[in-house]
Symmetry: C2
Subunit: 313 residues, 2 copies
Amino acid sequence: MNSSKEELLKVLETIAPFIHRTPVLTSKLIDEMAGCEIQFKCENFQKMGAFKMRGAMYAISKLSEDQKNAGVVTHSSGNFAQALSLAAKSLNVPAYIVMPESAPEVKKAAVRTYGGKITECPSTLQDREATANRIMKEKGASFIHPSNDMNVILGQGTAATELLLDHPELQIIVCPVGGGGLIAGTAISTHVLLQDCLCIGAEPMEADDAWRSLKSGKIESNASVLTIADGLKTMLGDVNFPIIRDHVSEIIRVSEQEIIAAMRLIWERMKIVVEASSAVALAAIIQQKDKFRNKKVGLIISGGNVDLTNLPF
Amino acid sequence: MNSSKEELLKVLETIAPFIHRTPVLTSKLIDEMAGCEIQFKCENFQKMGAFKMRGAMYAISKLSEDQKNAGVVTHSSGNFAQALSLAAKSLNVPAYIVMPESAPEVKKAAVRTYGGKITECPSTLQDREATANRIMKEKGASFIHPSNDMNVILGQGTAATELLLDHPELQIIVCPVGGGGLIAGTAISTHVLLQDCLCIGAEPMEADDAWRSLKSGKIESNASVLTIADGLKTMLGDVNFPIIRDHVSEIIRVSEQEIIAAMRLIWERMKIVVEASSAVALAAIIQQKDKFRNKKVGLIISGGNVDLTNLPF
């Protein structure tokens, strides 16, 4: 990682016309409960409802014109499929999305709404990779990984870049850890823009692969992922892991009850809809009060795409 | 009603230090669905989560010093009880809140959190009025009605004042109709600040007293109030009715299904938590597409205090 401030500003400038500069909110009551001052960077208000729009946008914008004409492909059943579809659409690039046959119809419909072309396949990782490979060959499309791609990582980091430019007083920045794209991008932005600011990750106890990876020094996987934070079930990759290892000072693990309580607190007090994965970061701050006491803290609200018919409260 | 622009600005200036200037949000997708351009004035982000903070604040600020020392009293089991408690607290004024014994414990707790002193009584209107009268005599406290008080009305109107100052291009402003305080204040602000802008009310079919009142020319009541929009069950009063009659161009009635669909749309697409009463206004716009087509519309989101354990979806 050899980024400079100029490079990070250039990344932001590249995608700025296509994304929202999301608002930063505060809550006096949550600050009182947590014992610190939190700036919430609200990516739930981002286009398609999550930070993933940033990474998808930057990765596509870095392709050559020929590559853009041939299109992009990814396999994802979640937010990144929608993000890549919408980002591609705004640059007039074809987007091929490999989704498991078993993916919920509502997610397929969302991808189609954003203009993505879906190819269904059996739900194993092998099948998904094989299908994506076939499309790469047939269409000449460029594969874009949801989290283990340096341009995706730099794009995701622009949420932190915006937050740190607005709030250079921050002492700690906290964000959830899933596949590692957001936390790696956040760590780069923090390290480059504000060297004295710590970058801390937050992870469900039930999918603590990143916590174990930092401990063992190699990428660990999850035997089971029984967490409500469904954006955080995936494991790290070889591109983002070294960045996380070098620039994330620690990962805090939280229980499912702590996640649900933090999610409810945000909904009730801040009146915003956030997904469980976002609540993981607040849960970590509330659990580790002593660590954050009286600190100026930045928190990345990763997104707000939830199934309202299936809430945990 | 003989307000001038200067007077309305003075009202806003008086309460501005004690309230939030709430954000105005937009949604491209909702605009496409509705066929018009909507500016959402988000009082769900107001202090204590609803516009009622504005009216309570202004009514208290208009009292003499002696009156402030003696305190204020109201009977309410809803948002106004919390609003008056918090507004009184910020001016160091005692607030006596008469609540029915049957009110949910969570609402009593919220009033206490904001510093209100609760007196419980049987739940009939007679009992509540008698209890409030007793407190007025014993404490010398001033009674402040939640919606039928000219200063409360002027205070509620500041949401529209802010919206119209920011968006002088608006052609129609829509807000929900409950006890009549918000719509009367909105009508005054609209009439004074932007004479060519229409003010339209939105009301549940199941509590359509205001619609019938405008038709009959006198204040009508509801035989039943089987609506999810629990802030809109109350009837108009003799102070706000003449204002509504003279300056609200029409009231649109919506079904319970339309309210729930609009509420879900706001939550899912705008990622904000709004109460059912607020969704009534969007439901009206969607129902009457022809009336609003291509218009620049302002919509007052009244509040975001909902019971997350009892949602309609």
